[in-house]
């Protein structure tokens, strides 16, 4: 008797395989195969020849394993130290709070000097520098001092000699004030000289 159902299934056999396993299943299988297929070949130790092959494989595998382990540990150590040193400046930038713990006196120094600096700078801005024939040379100096100040601040995190560093920082700020004072004095001089000149010309 002819079976229509059987014939139909035979004719459409491929269409019945409609399911598929999840794509990452191979990764799981592969990870469980990790020790390597070679070690399992001892299922069939028929000849002595085969046994020696297995031993050789094991020796080679051991060396590879040792090499890999060493590489991994070297890499991890390097990575650990690399990450630590890379993290330090980042912390400095993002966590000023910890700086207060390291050097609480710094805040006092900063507020004291910075307010003076800001005051002097605004005084300088009041002068019309171009009219007085002055360039902003002193600004370059201030920038250099600013940069070295920030550098000193970074060193605070790692320095073994905090007092010296704080001293250097406050000296830096004082130097900036000195520059500003000098600049102000020069501008004042120019101004008075100009004033005198105009006074003279008008009096003539």
């Amino acid at each position: 008797m002819k079976d229509r159902l059987e014939d139909f299934v035979k004719a459409h056999r491929d269409e019945f395989d409609s399911f598929a396993p999840r794509p990452d299943l191979w990764q799981e299988i592969a990870s469980e195969l990790e020790p390597g297929g070679q070690t399992t070949m001892h299922v069939e130790p028929e000849t002595g020849k085969e046994a020696t092959i297995i031993a050789l494989n094991w020796n080679v595998a051991w060396r590879y394993a040792a090499a890999v382990a060493m590489l991994v540990s070297v890499f991890l150590t390097a990575w650990y130290y690399g990450a630590n040193s890379a993290q330090a400046p980042q912390m400095a930038a993002t966590q000023p709070a910890s700086l207060e713990k390291i050097a609480p006196e710094l805040k006092q120094i900063e507020t004291q000097f910075v307010s003076v600096i800001e005051q002097k700078e605004s005084q300088l801005q009041a002068y019309d520098l171009k009219a007085l024939g002055m360039d902003k040379e002193w600004e370059q100096e201030a920038k250099a001092l600013d940069a070295s100040y920030n550098q000193l601040k970074q060193e605070l995190y790692t320095t073994p000699n905090k007092a010296e560093l704080i001293q250097a920082m406050s000296d830096n700020l004082k130097m900036r004030i000195a520059i500003l004072n000098r600049q102000l004095a020069i501008l004042e001089n120019i101004q008075t000289v100009k004033q005198q000149n105009t006074d003279e010309t008008t009096s003539i």
């Binding site: 159902l5 299934v9 019945f16 399911f19 195969l33 070949m41």
Partner: protein, 186 residues
């Protein structure tokens, strides 16, 4: 079933797998995973279990490739592993202690269906197979889709050939009943 040509193509890859070549193993996986997954799906009727079976089957196939003599194709050898593992799953899931033969209970096959009027569709057959009770589904799948004869099925399930035949004919009847029911409800 696989042709001779097919065997030769895979013999290459199988040989490389025996040496633990991971690429070759992946080749075989790509070649057989889908078909094997569907074999397991039909027996276990459970996606998660079928995946477990697939994973376990490939692992044990690669590990025991040494005892694969090549007297059958790799595909049919692997398929037997998949089927055995799938049946183990079904047995442990449903009937922890009762042997397979005992749960091949007579299920009401429903009314007679006029086969001449049946319009076969792959989807409706597939869905009806999924609705079959475990015992029926296993025998029917093995016979109808995996291409085993009743002697082989008897061997796989450790039942008699006569049981396989009678179970198949009941399963087939039930299947057609389920399909007619579905067509009626649609």
């Amino acid at each position: 079933m696989e042709t001779l040509e097919y065997t030769d193509v895979n013999a290459h890859i199988v040989a490389r797998c025996k040496e633990g070549d991971r690429k070759a193993q992946y080749e075989l996986y790509k070649l057989y995973s889908k078909a094997m997954f569907n074999v397991s799906m039909r027996i276990t009727n459970d996606y998660t279990e079928a995946e477990d079976v697939l994973q376990e089957s490939f692992l044990s196939a690669f590990k025991e490739l040494g005892i694969f003599k090549g007297d059958s194709t790799f595909g049919s050898w692997l398929k037997r592993i998949v089927i055995n593992k799938s049946i183990t799953k079904v047995r442990s899931r449903r009937l922890q202690v009762v042997p397979m033969e005992d749960y091949m209970e007579v299920v009401d096959e429903g009314p007679e269906v006029d086969e001449e009027d049946m319009q076969y569709k792959v989807e409706s057959i597939r869905r009806a197979i999924q609705k079959l009770p475990d015992g029926y589904r296993v025998v029917l799948s093995l016979y109808l889709l995996e291409g085993y004869d009743h002697g082989e099925i008897a061997d796989i399930l450790s039942i008699s050939e006569a049981t396989s035949k009678s179970q198949y004919s009941r399963a087939r009847k039930k299947l057609l009943g389920l399909m007619a029911e579905e067509a009626f409800l649609a």
